[in-house]
Symmetry: C2
Subunit: 428 residues, 2 copies
């Protein structure tokens, strides 16, 4: 049997208490950067607060004995050099940026957990066999510029400088100018593209309420769900709300209401992991005494299985078209966003299952309905994700919360996995 960071099961409790205190210290310290007036964090890419945070993190990493380096887009790496200089790195980490009025945990937890894990491993076990790295990715949310996964995508070769040439933020600041202001950009540092990564492991809050509801400590991500976003424009006839008898109406909003009802019914029938959401809807002319002549709305559909997702989206278009037809409404649908499902690495998933089993930590395989940096890394290396519970599933809000003990359990599992991969040379 593999050795563990715990030389005896009794050590588990002691280590959890230690991580509990430590993780809260790091998270509270991180939350002193870019706080907003609503009690949340607003840390947008290439802002002053963002730069201060990365720079402070670099110092913190160095104080933990890691060798730091920024790449040319602003991803920050802290390296714990291994004995085998040729073996590709095992990297853990997450993103530093937040949405507007974000919480204290999304992204930040993955960085804090990785920092604690590497710090503990080095102090306890010294130099690893394989190089371990912590990454504080510069951007994931797409909250400032219309571009998500900029950090991880640049590493994986899925993002490049050409793609951002025309991008501007809400204040018309160009992406490249903002980047340059922070001292980054093409030629400013190490090329962000990497070919020397042996595995990527990201720990993150669930952002859903499944673990909490099921009373499970760790979610082992099976697959990051594929996404389709569709936009529908439904056209009827704007008419006087007083003079148009019910049977003469072509009420676009009534038609769309039927579509939204059908969407939920079918998604409920097909069941998890399918989710489908009509999130954005606009009515025209949107006046109390006028029968709505036009409605534009979106459908966001996600599933772990590509074929199931395709089949559901085909059903949506067919059913909506039929419902429109019954009401003499015109309908046009377009897909404006598509992401394929990304299955996580099976070997790593099994490692995590085993670790949880051996340590007496409850865990379950689950689909991530949200997108994550891990889906970029999966293009270039074996990749894994693990989740800890989110209270009431709240995320992207100052009310995001996970119990310190739940955070500590995640740190312990991550530490153990990094130990097995980095020190014990467990197979990938």
């Amino acid at each position: 049997m593999m050795r563990s960071v715990l030389s005896h099961p009794r050590e588990k409790e002691r280590l959890l208490s230690y991580f509990e205190t430590q993780v809260m210290q790091v998270l509270n310290w991180l939350a002193t950067y870019s706080p907003d007036e609503e009690g949340g964090i607003t840390r947008l890419l290439y802002t002053e607060g963002w730069l201060e945070t990365q720079q402070a993190l670099a110092l913190k990493m160095e104080s933990c004995g890691l060798t730091t380096e920024f790449d040319n887009v602003g991803n920050l790496f802290g390296k714990l050099q291994g004995d085998d200089r040729d073996a590709p790195s095992i990297i853990t980490g997450s993103h530093i940026d937040t949405v507007i009025q974000g919480g204290h945990y999304d992204g930040a937890y993955g960085i804090a957990a990785g920092l604690l894990a590497l710090d503990y491993l080095q102090k306890q076990f010294g130099k690893p066999k394989r190089t371990l790295e912590l990454v504080s990715l510069c951007e994931e949310e797409g909250s400032r510029f219309p571009m998500a996964y900029w950090g991880s995508g640049s590493i994986a070769g899925k993002r490049n400088f050409e793609q951002i040439v025309h991008l501007q933020d809400a204040q018309d600041v160009f992406f490249a100018d903002a980047m340059q202001q922070c001292g980054f950009g093409e030629g400013t540092g190490r090329d962000s593209r990497r070919h020397d990564i042996g595995a990527f492991i990201e720990i993150h809050i669930e952002q859903g309420a499944v673990l909490e509801q099921d009373g499970v400590a760790i979610g082992v991500v099976e697959t990051i769900a594929g996404q389709r976003r569709l936009k529908f424009e439904v056209i009827g006839e704007s008419n006087h709300a007083g003079t148009t008898p019910m049977h003469m109406r072509k009420d676009a909003l009534e038609g769309v209401s039927a579509m939204i009802g059908a969407l939920r019914q079918e998604a409920m029938r097909l069941g998890s992991p399918l989710v489908a959401t009509a999130g954005r809807l606009q009515v025209f002319p949107n006046v109390p005494n006028v029968v709505p002549g036009k409605v534009v709305f979106t459908v966001d559909a996600r599933h772990a299985n590509e074929q199931a997702l395709d089949s559901f989206c085909r059903w949506v278009v067919q059913r909506f078209t039929a419902l429109a037809g019954e009401r003499q409404l015109q309908i046009q649908g377009t897909e404006w966003f598509r992401e394929e499902p990304v299955p996580m690495n099976e070997v790593l998933k099994r490692h995590m299952d085993h670790i949880c089993g051996e340590m007496g930590i409850s865990s379950k395989r689950m689909v991530s309905g949200a997108g994550h940096d891990a889906q970029m890394f999966e293009h270039i290396c074996p990749t894994a994700m693990l989740f800890v519970p989110s209270r009431r599933g709240i995320s992207h809000s100052p009310e995001e919360y996970t119990e310190p003990r739940e955070l500590a359990v995640g740190v312990l599992v991550l530490t153990e996995l990094l130990y097995r991969l980095g020190y014990e040379g467990e197979e990938l």
Copy 2:
């Protein structure tokens, strides 16, 4: 049997041809005032274009032998003095103002028809027994200031200067200042309140498609429908569209969709003259990848019968509350607008039925789902309304249209009614 403007049925065709030409001339002439760039009319209360139109109309009335007078809010009257100086006046007319980008017929047709009727009657039959008047009401639509029926309401004592003290238009111009700019206001002319009206008759385009669909020439308005406008706020829980399984959602938009479906179903079941419309709807946060946490929407319900309308609105609140409850959504409803149904005068309705019957003109009794100046007059005198068809029911749009022949038929019926009331002394 009562005498008619037609001394012989064969005259009908000749008179219709005459009115057809004349009514188009007056309407086209009126449409030269306050035209907008979209091919419609934008003639808002107390604007320069509005004042020019009233002044031009005064000259036109005088050229037809009417004695004109403005009251102190800007209603314009053209009087054809009758022999009996003590008998209250028979008044016809409509409003001169339009919505923004209105059509050529709404309001204007009632003024044009009245002008032609009085002109024809005076030329053919000279001085009437009872005084006949044409009124060009200053305002009905409430398009510039948040106040409708200002003209007719001032005549009927339902509007007064105190009510407009704080009102401003979209450019922050005060109502009283705009009025003064045009030379009107308290003390500037004859008090608008009148106590000497024997009857008010308004002819108007239907603004619905019932007459057109039924192939009927004249609508005799039974009742002007009562209105209730309700606003509902439905609160669920904003959640991540990817990470929140379907069965854990409190989707406010899905709940409201069920309400809108139920609203239509029940309104269809109860049938005409009930109409119910969800016209305005806003989703929060209204983002494609977030489950909607809040929806605010309006319901406009109308019926000719007060009790039926009340009962329907109670059903709406109960059903919506139940649908919200089933989904663990919170709901709050408030009524923000209420108008009682206003039945038109039965004696006048019968006169119009008879006239149409005797002249071989198809007619039907119908409810007006839209509000009109007539509902103000009904508080102070016997009041009647008649409708002519509106092509495809379109109104409040440059596309408003009624065939010249259909307009002429309306003028003929109005002329005959005024003849019987004004010259033949038919009972009211």
